[in-house]
């Protein structure tokens, strides 16, 4: 009787310890995973989709189509476009605390890493000398239109931030950058 008990104990112990080993990079076993609803039947946004040539479920929309609720940015990504935006483009937002604080938040996330919290071109990447050449806002003639244009398309070393930010978020950042510049110019 005692021997049987010992054997049972050892077997249980071995089984439970064996779960500690094995390939850690593989997902764990799931109970009845093939019948129950673990895997989606529909296609998930970033999942693979073998039906398309590039194998992605996320397909780009057709060129020239406009989503409901969105206004396309029509100034082209050229030097002329930059000048045009600088001179004619105006912010649709009113200047208020709410927009500014939101703008500050977004600026801290997306811009400050290079441009610095004050907009003086002393972001953390610059300080660590990962790359150089980030200008101070006070050294450049920039308007709200030109700031928006640069966020949209990028300029020189800077890439486009159009996919990270929505239209009104860009304008909120613009508002905050203008304030930073005003502070730097003082």
């Amino acid at each position: 009787m005692k021997q049987t008990l010992n054997i049972i104990t050892i077997v249980v112990l071995v089984i439970s310890l064996s779960s500690c080993y094995g390939d850690k990079r593989k997902p764990n076993a799931r109970y009845m995973a093939s019948t129950d609803m673990y895997a989606p039947v529909g296609y998930e946004t970033y999942a693979k989709n073998p039906n398309f040539k590039n194998g992605l479920e996320a397909q780009a929309p057709v060129e020239g189509t406009i989503f409901r609720g969105e206004v396309p940015y029509e100034i082209p990504n050229t030097e002329d476009g930059y000048v045009l935006a600088k001179e004619t483009l105006k912010s649709p937002l009113e200047i208020n605390e709410k927009n500014l604080s939101k703008g500050k938040e977004l600026y801290t996330i997306y811009c400050a890493v290079c441009h610095g919290n004050k907009g003086d071109g002393q972001g953390i990447l610059v300080k660590r000398e990962k790359f150089l050449g980030i200008p101070n806002y006070k050294d450049r003639e920039i308007t709200e239109g030109s700031i928006y244009h640069v966020i949209m398309y990028g300029r020189n070393m800077m890439g486009s931030h159009a996919s990270q930010l929505k239209n009104n978020e860009r304008w909120q950042i613009v508002q905050y950058v203008e304030e930073l510049r005003a502070n730097l110019l003082q």
Binding site: Y31, M32, T35, D36
Partner: protein
């Protein structure tokens, strides 16, 4: 002998010139002997039916519940009908061993062992249905309130289906323990008689070293009485809970406060019928005619008559209330004019004929004490009680509140196969039991030999005159 008074009007419960040893020999004979051809034939048939049922169950689980005849409206039919039928059958065993013990009925001793065995085997069958009728059997363990990794997600204790889980599992375990404690002295008897070492080993394991000392017997009696006292409310509550699967719903015909006692009465009714069926065969094939006598059969018929009467009153009440309530929805319930003349008229009349009309013949002593007629009636009642559950479930679901969802049910072969399979499984177990277990509680029987044995009664009668 002279100090004992027993009314001379009482009929003997043990027939023939039996001694203690005779009882032992008679009870041990089927266990110690070899199975005959008829047993093997019966066992093979039962086994085939059982395997067929297993196949149907596996097919259901592998393919889905859609292989049954259920539809969107009638989503319970043969599964729950059979479940309630089997649970009902199981009730007589506990009634015989517990309630009759509380009432000090000595005639129970000839039949209680087999009745209890029947209970346990019937509850096994019943227990299958709540599991296999699930869409996802493999998640059945979620019905248990076990602490888990889902934020300790719990069960809802408001559902009668959960109460069913507790009721059936408790019922099975208590019945099993009650039955088994009763078996100890009998296993000990078989152990002591066994000549083959293997048999000896088995029965000494089964009998837990029972040595029949005074203190053991004293405690044995006490435990039996306590368990009988516990099993009695259990037997009443289990089928009550089963009835609440229906009675707590809002479906016309189901929502009825009469269900709990009516279902229990029906359970005893059908259970006794099943005991009758089995014992009438058993007394013949196992040569137990001296212990399962005409008195036993008659007494069981009386209980059948009583519970059949209660059930009949319940039918009339349901029919009356259906009309008296003035609710138009009650016009189509399983006991209503709508049911009697509707598409399920045959099921309605099967119920009335089998449960309401035929059992009334038991009022006549001649028929009540007739073995053939008793056997016939017991079969009829089992059919009738199956139809009672079928009618309650299917007729009520087929004609609900919305006429646009009125529909019919027809079973597929899988429904039928599973039912046949459970019958096969039941008989597999029962046939095995009849060959390996002491089918009569000989220890108890020996306690009444001198008060109710035919020879002792005669002796007493002679002395008095």
């Amino acid at each position: 002998m002279m100090s004992h008074y027993e009314a001379p009007i009482r009929e003997p419960l043990i027939i023939g010139n039996k001694s203690y040893h005779d009882i032992t020999v008679d009870v041990a004979a089927p266990v110690e002997g070899k199975a005959n051809k008829k047993w093997w034939i019966a066992f093979t048939i039962a086994l085939v039916a059982f395997l067929y049922g297993i196949g149907a169950i596996l097919y259901t689980i592998g393919t889905g519940i859609g292989v049954w005849g259920l539809n969107n409206r009638i989503n319970w039919a043969w599964d729950i009908t059979n479940f309630v039928w089997w649970v009902g059958i199981g009730h007589a065993g506990t009634l015989i061993s517990a309630v009759l013990l509380l009432f000090r009925q000595k005639w129970r001793m000839g039949i209680n062992r087999s009745a209890e065995a029947m209970t346990i085997f019937a509850v096994f069958q019943a227990g299958l249905f709540p599991i296999i009728h699930m869409g996802r059997v493999w998640n059945a363990f979620y019905v248990l309130p076990i602490p888990n990794a889902l934020g300790s997600l719990w069960v809802n204790f408001n559902s009668p289906l959960l109460w069913d889980v507790f009721a059936i599992s408790t019922y099975l375990s208590v019945s099993l323990v009650f039955w088994y404690t009763g078996l100890l002295p009998d296993f000990a008897m078989l152990r002591d008689r066994a000549v083959r070492p293997f048999q000896k080993k088995i029965y000494s394991l089964l009998s837990f070293g029972w040595s029949g000392r005074l203190k053991d017997w004293q405690r044995f009696e006490e435990v039996s009485l306590v368990l009988a006292g516990l099993a009695t409310p259990l037997v009443l509550s289990v089928h009550t809970i089963v009835s609440m699967d229906f009675a707590t719903s809002v479906i016309p015909g189901w929502h009825s406060t009469i269900f709990p006692p009516y279902f229990v009465a029906g359970a005893i009714f059908s259970g006794f019928a099943m005991v009758q069926t089995l014992l009438l065969i058993m007394r013949k094939v196992s040569n137990l005619e001296a212990y399962i006598t005409k008195v036993h059969i008659e007494n069981m018929n009386k209980v059948i008559l009583l519970t059949g009467g209660i059930v009949s009153v319940a039918y009339i009440t349901e029919f009356f209330i259906g009309w008296y309530s003035g609710s138009s929805y009650e016009d189509y319930t399983y006991l209503s004019v709508g049911a009697a003349t509707g598409p399920y008229w045959w099921a309605f009349w099967a119920l009335i004929t089998c449960n309401f009309i035929f059992p009334q013949t038991l009022w006549f002593k001649k028929l009540r004490t007739n073995f053939v007629w008793s056997f016939f009636i017991s079969i009829v009642i089992n059919i009738g009680m199956w139809f009672e559950r079928f009618d309650i479930i299917v007729i009520d679901l087929s004609r609900g509140h919305l006429p646009s969802s009125w529909t019919m049910f027809s079973p597929t072969f899988v429904d039928v196969a599973i039912f046949i399979g459970t019958i096969g499984f039941f008989f597999v177990l029962f046939l095995l039991y009849a060959r390996t277990f002491p089918v009569i509680a000989q220890a108890e029987l020996k306690s009444i030999l001198k008060s109710s044995g035919e020879n002792y009664k005669k002796l007493r009668g002679d002395n008095h005159e």
